[in-house]
Structures are given as structure tokens and as C-alpha cells.
């Protein structure tokens, strides 16, 4: 993009980079904000249907599709309240902290092969690290509100998120191990082709660990049945009890952003990202190297594919939310420490042993053997011997 601006449009480097960065930031912001609008409407409709009612029907025509916009206008017009005893600075800052963390994680999330804010070679790690920071805003909100309901909610959320980071990290490591890279683009590209090459179907262990990931992801974005932090039946509204208006809506944009993010991450890690279930672009004869237009069209298709998968993930989360009752705090901790963590560890070990025992996959030719490409510059299997001398030669070549 920046190269295009420099070479074709004739901008100087600094302006080209500025335009590129602003454009990427605006697009990502709109994914979060626009996504939140759509998903809030979808949540109301789904909740309605599950509870045997219609949900919004009147605002903006037949399906109430302008309901979120009306909500937004209401929130804008609402009085911005702050409790008298609150710590003003922290109280005002907390929603932005949550939102920023959610936004930052999107920077490293690829939407298609080239459509990524900033391609990091440790993309998975970055996303997981930044996602864990969202809880900081919640804790600040809970503490600064000077309300015991808020503080209880924040403390519950802290305990929950810190606990669930452990199994979540273990689940994320398995696709990293299979792909031999922490780069999200590489991980998704390694699953190119039909759905049989998805890591979800790579072996039985990855199939199980995907569901562990789903559980942990729902818990880590603080959705029901794990929404102890805002348990309205006993904590009024938990950490956002004292918030109203636009500040309150920032927490919700962050929540919906995170839901979308963990769903997209699941799609990239386990379901091929922008690849499969049917390689439409490949069947249409579009592939890399057919010229810029073909490349661009392939990527647009891929982006639609990934967004579709992530949306399905978010819808499943809503389905879970309106179907299952809320867990108790001890049940939440039991789920994490007694079930998810050991299960994730065992599945990790299993996936590792599977790689050793059946490096070519269960049925030869079905799915691609993982782990053949290690860090690009290192000689490895197929690329020459991996002895210290060979590695040293390669390092000397890269870093003279």
C-alpha cells in the first residue's frame, strides 16, 4: 500500500506511510464499531427468538434493523454520571483502556493474505498478550467507581481472566506447533486448500483442543455463562454499575470487539483463516501470481470468508449465552483449573506425539504434513541438514 503510494501516486515516503497507517486504523476501528452495531442488533433478535419472542421489530422497518442506531443515539444523549466518591481520572479513563486493548489486538489480526494492519512474526503471541490487557480497564472501572458492586465484579473478572489465560495459551500453542510459526498469516496459509487441511481436522487432539479453546475464549471475553463480572442477579451490573451513556457503550464496543477477535483468531488458528472449507478462489482459477487484479479479488474473497467464519463464531457465542445459565464463581474456577487446563495439557502432549508418530497425517495425501517449514531462514528438513555448522552458515549469510 505504502509502496503503491510512493511509486504510483508519487507521494513522498512519510506522507505515504501516514496515509497507509491512518487508513488501516480507520478500517480496523470500523470493524469494531460497525461490528458492534450489527452484533448488538443480532443479539437482540437471537435472544428474542430463543426466548420465544420477536425482539426489536419496529425501529427502521421490518426487522428492527435500526435498533442499534437508535440505541446509539440514546446513549449519546444520556447524561454522563459519575459517583461523588469516585476517583475521577481513573473513572473517566477506564473505558478507553478497555477499548484500546481490544483495538490494539486487531492490529496484528490478518483478514486475508495481505490484509493485515501490521504483520508480526509473533502475531499469535501479540494478540493473546494484548487481549489479556482488556481486563485492566475493567479493574480500573471497578476500583474507581467506589462502589462495592463494581469492585466485586472487577475482582471476579480479574481472577477469571488471569486463570483462563493459562489454558487459552496452551490451546493457542498447538496450531503454532503444527505450523512451526507464530505468524498468523503463515499459520492460515499452511491450512490452504479444502477443509481437510484445517488444523481442526488435523488429528483427534486438535479437534478436542479446539473446543477447549472455545470454552476458554468465551470465558476470557467475559461472556455468559462466564459473565460473573456483571452478574446482574446479585451485583446490579458488576463493574459497569456506575457507568452510563457513551462511557458505558465503550465497554460494550470493547466486549463485542473482543468477541469478534477471539472468533477470528479461532478461524485463523483452527479453521484455515481465509482458506476453505471449499477453495472457491482456487476452483475459479484465481491464484497468487495471476496478476494484481486476480490477487486482489482472491483476497477480497478470503476476507469475506474470514469475516463469515468470525461472525458465525460470534453468533455461536450468543446462542450459548441465551441458552446456558450463569455458572457460580467456584464452578467457573473448577471448569478452568480442573477441566480446561489438564485437558489442554493432555491434548497438547497428544498432538505432539501424533506429530512424532504420524508426521504425514493419518491418511497419506489427505491434509498436509505439518511442521515441514520452520522459520524461513533456518535450514531444516528438506532444506539441507540442520546441524550447528549449517545454521551458523545461514546466520552468517543473513547477518553478515
Amino acid at each position: 500500500m505504502a509502496d503503491f503510494l510512493i511509486n504510483t501516486a508519487g507521494l513522498s515516503a512519510w506522507l505515504a506511510w501516514t496515509v497507509t497507517a491512518v487508513l488501516a486504523a480507520v478500517l480496523i476501528l470500523n470493524v469494531i464499531a460497525g461490528g458492534a452495531l450489527v452484533f448488538i442488533w443480532a443479539e437482540r433478535k437471537i435472544a428474542g427468538r430463543i426466548q420465544d419472542r420477536l425482539g426489536p421489530t419496529r425501529t427502521g422497518g421490518k426487522f428492527g434493523w435500526l435498533q442499534s442506531l437508535a440505541d446509539g443515539i440514546k446513549l449519546l444523549a444520556k447524561e454522563d454520571l459519575m459517583p461523588e466518591g469516585a476517583d475521577g481520572m481513573l473513572f473517566r479513563l477506564a473505558p478507553y483502556v478497555s477499548f484500546c486493548a481490544s483495538f490494539c489486538a486487531f492490529i496484528a489480526l490478518p483478514f486475508a493474505f495481505d490484509f493485515v494492519g501490521q504483520r508480526l512474526n509473533v502475531g499469535v503471541f501479540f494478540v493473546v498478550a494484548v487481549l489479556g490487557l482488556e481486563v485492566f480497564g475493567v479493574i480500573l472501572a471497578g476500583y474507581a467507581s467506589a462502589s462495592k458492586w463494581s469492585l466485586f465484579g472487577a475482582m471476579r473478572e480479574a481472577a477469571q481472566v488471569v486463570s483462563y489465560e493459562v489454558p487459552l495459551g496452551m490451546c493457542v500453542v498447538v496450531p503454532v506447533m503444527l505450523a512451526g510459526s507464530m505468524d498468523l498469516v503463515t499459520i492460515a496459509e499452511k491450512q490452504a486448500g479444502w477443509f481437510t487441511s484445517w488444523y481442526l481436522f488435523h488429528d483427534p487432539f486438535t479437534f478436542v483442543i479446539f473446543w477447549v479453546y472455545v470454552t476458554c475464549a468465551v470465558a476470557s471475553v467475559n461472556r455468559a455463562p462466564f459473565d460473573l463480572a456483571e452478574a446482574e442477579s446479585e451485583l446490579v451490573a458488576g463493574f459497569h454499575t456506575e457507568y452510563s451513556g457513551l462511557r458505558w457503550s465503550f465497554f460494550f464496543m470493547a466486549e463485542y470487539g473482543s468477541m469478534f477477535l477471539v472468533s477470528a483468531l479461532a478461524a485463523v488458528l483452527f479453521m484455515g483463516g481465509w482458506n476453505g472449507p471449499i477453495p472457491v478462489a482456487g476452483l475459479l482459477g484465481l491464484s497468487e501470481g495471476n496478476g494484481d487484479t486476480a490477487n486482489y479479488f482472491t483476497r477480497l474473497l478470503g476476507m469475506a470468508n474470514l469475516l463469515g467464519k468470525a461472525t458465525v463464531g460470534v453468533l455461536v457465542m450468543m446462542w450459548i449465552r441465551w441458552t446456558l445459565p450463569r455458572l457460580r464463581i467456584d464452578q467457573v474456577m473448577t471448569t478452568c483449573l480442573k477441566y480446561c487446563t489438564p485437558l489442554a495439557a493432555a491434548m497438547f502432549l497428544g498432538a505432539m506425539l501424533w506429530q512424532v508418530a504420524l508426521p504425514g497425517g493419518l491418511v497419506p495425501g489427505l491434509g498436509r504434513p505439518a511442521g515441514e517449514v520452520r522459520e524461513g531462514w533456518l535450514p531444516g528438513p528438506g532444506g539441507g541438514p540442520r546441524t550447528p555448522a549449517a545454521v551458523a552458515a545461514k546466520v552468517a549469510q543473513v547477518h553478515p
Partner: protein
Amino acid sequence: MMAFVSGPTAVIEPLLGLGLALPVAGVNWHTFFFLLFAAVACGFAVAVVAADNVVRMALYLVLSLGATAGLFFLAGAEFVGAMQLMIYVGGTLVLLVFGVMLTAQAPFVSIKGSAGDRVLAGVVGAVLLAVLLQAALSVPAWRRPASGHVGQPAATPIGMALVGVRVDEPDPAAPAKNRRSGYLLPFEIVSVHLLVVLVGAAYLARAKRRKTPRAIEVAASVEPAASVAEHAAIGRDRPRGASVLAGGRS
């Protein structure tokens, strides 16, 4: 001051080929962000020391450490940057939770040191800063900015050595016992040592509880509100019927 503004002060830029001309100076974004992150890191580090509320301190610490992570990303050290976010920024979060839980006796408690403490802290800090500055300025390679990547020392050999592969081995063909060893074993020993220290600290810091049933009853009846949050985190610690926190169904 305006080190990040490079080139001639007013460069005419064609904007997207629309014939629109803007008199603007070219900005070196790398320098700009370096100065920005460095200023944020240093400024909030000072704010951590100056603040007297433990949660505000934690917020400033998070901002300062986050800006340091930004510096790492700016230098292209993405793994170190993500590590910084995961370990230091995430760790501060846990520190904050336990700091609030273990120290807060009242809402918004402030920790104010005496004037003597501040002077002492200033002296210690100044001495440490002097030592660090002296050490940093005495490394000849750091005095001028390295140009380009050619000939620049990379972190790769250290990283490889950490996992046991010495790429700087002068004689790779030598028998194994004559070759240089990696840093894997020392690294593991240090981490196990840290784990032992952590377990010991947790043992020393845990609350001492008497085991007689009567003492437990008394404690339950006069329990201060602040420790309820602790029970919420621990979960089953408290009889379910008595707990307002035990959670309900929506």
C-alpha cells in the same frame, strides 16, 4: 527540539495527484514515535514514584511499560515487545489485584512517604542513574547511531545459544566436549530457582490461621468487607449458604 522534522522545512507535496498542494514538512515517523514512546515511558515512570494512590501507580506503571514495549516494536524486536506486554504489563495487573486486595483497608487509600523517605529515595535513584549512565556512555558502539543493518550485531546468536545451539562456534567440527555449550542449562536452573523463591514467598506471606473451630466461627462473624473479595477469588473457601457472592442464575 524538532529533531523529528527532517529535510527542508517546507516541502510542497502533491496530495493524491489531485493538484492539491500542501506546504508541510516531512516528518520522520520513526524518530517521532521514538521520542513519543521514550517521553511516555520516562514521564509515567516519574509519575509512578510521585503518585500516592496504589491503583494510579499501577496505571502509570502499565503506561510506562507499555511505552517500553512500543520502543521494542519500533526497534523491530517484536518478540521482546510482546513479551514485555505479556509479562510486565500483564504482571502489573496481577500485582495490582493483589496490591489492592492485600493493602486496601479503606477506599482510595493513599501511600504517602515522609519527606525523609523522599530525599533518601531521590539520592538512591540519582546514584543508580549515574551508574547506569556511566555504564551506557562507556560502550563505544552506542555513541553514534549505527547505519543500516550491515555489520550490526544481531540478537540471533544469543537467542540460538539460549536454546543450546552456538552459532558463534569457531570450530563446529570439534568433538562435542570441546565445543562451547549453550545457555539452556543455566537458564533452566535460574528459572527453577525463581520458582523456589516464589513458593517460599507465598509460604511466608500466607495468612496464618488457627485451626480451632471456634476461631473460625469468630472470624466468620466479624469478617471485614474487604476480605470478602478474597473469598470470591478463592471460591469454595466459604460455606455456600452464608455467601452473598456465591453466584446465582440469570
